[in-house]
């Protein structure tokens, strides 16, 4: 499965699609990036007159690139345009180390812990353009094809 095909199968659309490009994907993990636009909708309120990317959005970027893109790749033999992937986030535990501002590029690297009985659990890290650790954690979800 090609990387652009994985992105096409993602069940998200703007303003909630947080994958610009997938740079690596294998049985063991995925790597990709997202550049936060200056006018993302959440900057209007987070915070008042001081736009900073919310932690829940950083978690979402980590989950979309690190978990969902990898999950689609792992389910590649079962999914297609007809058999779309069904996804549910089931747990996450994430620590944040640095703020991310409008216009910043973040890179996400995930490493599979296990994929058994349709549950995918990964260690996920996020880095900024200076390659500094922004956040890291463990995210899990259930993935099946319809």
């Amino acid at each position: 499965m090609k990387k652009y095909e994985i992105i096409a199968l993602l069940p998200y659309s703007p303003p909630f699609l947080f994958v610009d490009k997938l740079t690596k994907v294998s049985e063991n993990g995925a790597e990709g990036f997202y550049i936060f636009k200056e006018d993302e909708y959440f900057y209007q309120g987070h915070f008042k007159d001081n736009p900073v990317t919310p932690g829940v959005i950083l978690t979402e970027v980590m989950a979309q690139i690190g978990l969902v893109c990898l999950g689609i790749y792992l389910l590649k033999d079962q999914i297609s345009e007809v058999e779309k992937p069904k996804i549910a986030l089931t747990s996450n535990e994430v620590d944040f180390f640095l703020p991310v501002f409008p216009g910043e590029k973040v890179k996400v690297i995930s490493e599979k812990i296990y994929f058994r009985f349709n549950k995918l659990k990964c260690k996920v890290q996020m880095f900024n353009a200076k390659n500094e650790l922004v956040s890291r954690g463990t995210i899990a979800g259930m993935l099946t094809s319809e």
């Binding site: 549910a88 089931t90 296990y114 058994r116 009985f117 349709n118 549950k119 899990a140 979800g141 259930m142």
Partner: protein
């Protein structure tokens, strides 16, 4: 291992994932993991993985789908241990 010992071990394994404390307190062989203990499907996977580690066995997809109650879990563990 006796049935009581199996139940004690399973109780220890499921405890972190249960939602219904009363059902957990009154756990018997007939207790259902999802309907009684209110374990979600994602945590049921963790229960199965913990069972694999605890008993040093491998649970396949067919067995996993059947492992919905304490009784079914014990039967599957016993058959894997015997084979």
């Amino acid at each position: 291992m006796t049935r009581e010992e199996f139940i004690t071990t399973l109780k220890k394994i499921v405890q972190p994932y249960i939602q219904d404390e009363e059902a957990f307190h009154n756990l018997t062989e007939d207790t259902d993991f999802i309907n009684d203990l209110k374990i979600n499907s994602a945590n049921l996977v963790d229960v199965i993985l913990d069972v694999e580690d605890e008993f040093d066995i491998e649970i396949d997809n067919d067995s996993m789908e059947k492992m919905l109650s304490v009784k079914a879990a014990i039967e599957i563990i016993e058959s894997k241990l015997a084979s």
